[in-house]
């Protein structure tokens, strides 16, 4: 009887797509291991380029709102990413920005320190292993005797998903913790009440520090910043108290402090806690006050030890931050 009821329940239609991504997010979906059977029992995967042979025309042929849940991972780097994002939005009931890149731009977003021209010059002309005397670069349209060849347009900027389409939920992480994905997935399958739209799901409200098991004191004082390789971590004291930059205070919990448990400081992939628009600015605010000096020159010398503030504090969030890109 129970079995029959289960069979009657219509299966969820699910899609997974990658924009400008490394593929790690798609792998994190596969990381459900044997739970994949539960997923497949409850959902049909109707579109998933990394694993299944569907074509864009199949997606186009689906009626609007046909897909129940889409996990879009990766940032928007070119016109293909944007086109499919818009198409998926049209075909999907619940669109989730899955992973750091779709959430705030992620690692590909660091390209916003450069322009399209700089990137093309470097990649197609200047790299040490490139020989391209005629300086041939990819063109959007290229005419050949057989007709026209078309490549997607490479944008000057990287954008997170919500800068091109309306996003229902964000599931952060690089990649998101698989357990969190399963929780969210099961909640949708079981028809539980979902949180209000445009919120982060699959992560906690509090910061990493709240979850972190390392020994902490109230007043952190930093006289010197160290890169992780410059200091021997004692394995139990707060990284910041040892002078190693850890983005825990301005990063959402939910990952289970995986990096910290592996003795590496937090890099901020889970994005900012609720109500924080710019994680890097918050982190700079926090870390600057920990500097143990009042003399302007001494302060400057200590800050000089932070090699690359923009890259460190906005490692996963540059396109989603207030300034979004380098002004040129």
């Amino acid at each position: 009887m129970g079995e029959d009821e289960k069979n009657k329940k219509p299966k969820l239609k699910m899609a997974v797509y990658w924009g400008a991504a490394c593929g790690g997010c798609c792998v994190s979906v596969l990381d459900v291991h044997e739970k994949l059977f539960d997923v497949v029992a409850a959902a049909d995967l109707v579109f998933w380029p990394i694993a299944l042979d569907f074509k864009y025309k199949d997606l186009k042929a689906m009626p609007d709102g046909y897909i129940d849940l889409t996990l879009y991972n990766g940032a928007i780097r070119n016109s293909e990413n944007q086109h499919i994002a818009m198409l998926l939005r049209q075909k999907t009931k619940i669109l989730v920005a899955y992973g750091s890149c779709a959430h705030m731009g992620g690692i590909p977003g660091l390209a916003n320190f450069s322009t399209k021209e700089q990137i093309f010059d470097r990649i197609y002309c200047d790299t040490e292993s490139t020989e391209n005397p005629e300086k041939i670069k990819p063109q959007h349209i290229y005419k050949v005797p057989e007709g026209e060849l078309e490549l997607p347009i490479f944008y000057n900027d990287v954008m997170p998903l919500d800068q091109v389409v309306c996003v229902d939920y964000y599931l952060p992480g690089c990649p998101p913790q698989t357990e969190r994905l399963l929780e969210v997935f099961m909640a949708i399958v079981n028809g539980s009440e979902l949180p209000s739209k445009k919120t982060v799901i699959g992560a906690y409200e509090k910061s990493q520090c709240d979850e972190c098991e390392r020994k902490k004191t109230e007043n952190k004082k930093i006289k010197k910043f160290y890169r992780p390789w410059e200091i021997e971590d004692d394995g139990e004291t707060c990284f910041l108290e040892q002078g190693v930059i850890c983005l825990g205070p301005a990063t959402r919990g939910g990952c289970g402090t995986r990096c910290i448990k592996g003795n590496a400081p937090c890099r901020g992939c889970y994005g900012p806690p609720p109500d924080v628009s710019d994680p890097g600015a918050k982190m700079m605010s926090a870390i600057a006050t920990m500097i143990d000096a009042n003399d302007p020159e001494e302060i400057e010398n200590i800050i000089e030890q932070i090699e690359d503030p923009a890259g460190t504090f906005y490692r996963f969030s540059l396109p989603g931050s207030i300034l979004r890109r380098k002004v040129v």
Binding site: Q163, A281, K282, M284, S285, A288, T289, I303, K326, V327
Partner: protein
């Protein structure tokens, strides 16, 4: 047309705002480009405020607080000083000239100094020209 810079200025309630008030009540003349926002302490000025000012079209940001040692909350201005140096390093990486962000100390009796500072900052920004942050953002918004 003459470039008229917009300078957002965060003044602490206890010293600098009173100093600016003194400049006003003493009828001192200074450049009208400063837009004053009063905060309780220079230590309250988050980096987010500064970045948001640039994003919304400020050509410069001026922060004023109590002189070192004079903070109403003991060490708010030192916290501001530490943040200021870090933010300055960050905005340079983002392609914003560091002179567009300035921190100075103005006490409640330094109306004249405030007026001079406002003139000086306006001159600096006029020389630098308009800040391109807002334009860049508007162009970005047009892509999608």
């Amino acid at each position: 047309m003459d470039f008229k810079p917009t300078i957002v200025s965060f003044l602490c309630n206890w010293c600098s705002y009173t100093g600016a008030d003194l400049a006003g009540t003493s009828r001192m003349k200074y450049a009208p480009n400063i837009r004053i926002i009063r905060v309780m302490c220079s230590g309250r000025i988050e980096p987010t405020f500064i970045l948001k000012a640039f994003r919304e079209g400020a050509d410069g940001v001026l922060i004023c607080g109590c002189h070192p040692g004079d903070c109403h909350y003991h060490e708010g201005n030192y916290k501001c000083l530490r943040r200021f140096h870090l933010i300055q390093k960050y905005i340079q990486q983002m392609g914003i000239n560091k002179d567009r962000l300035r921190l100075d100390w103005v006490s409640a009796s330094e109306g004249k100094q405030f007026a001079e500072l406002a003139d000086e900052m306006t001159e600096t920004i006029k020389e630098l020209g308009p800040c391109e942050v807002k334009n860049t953002m508007e162009k970005l918004d047009k892509i999608c």
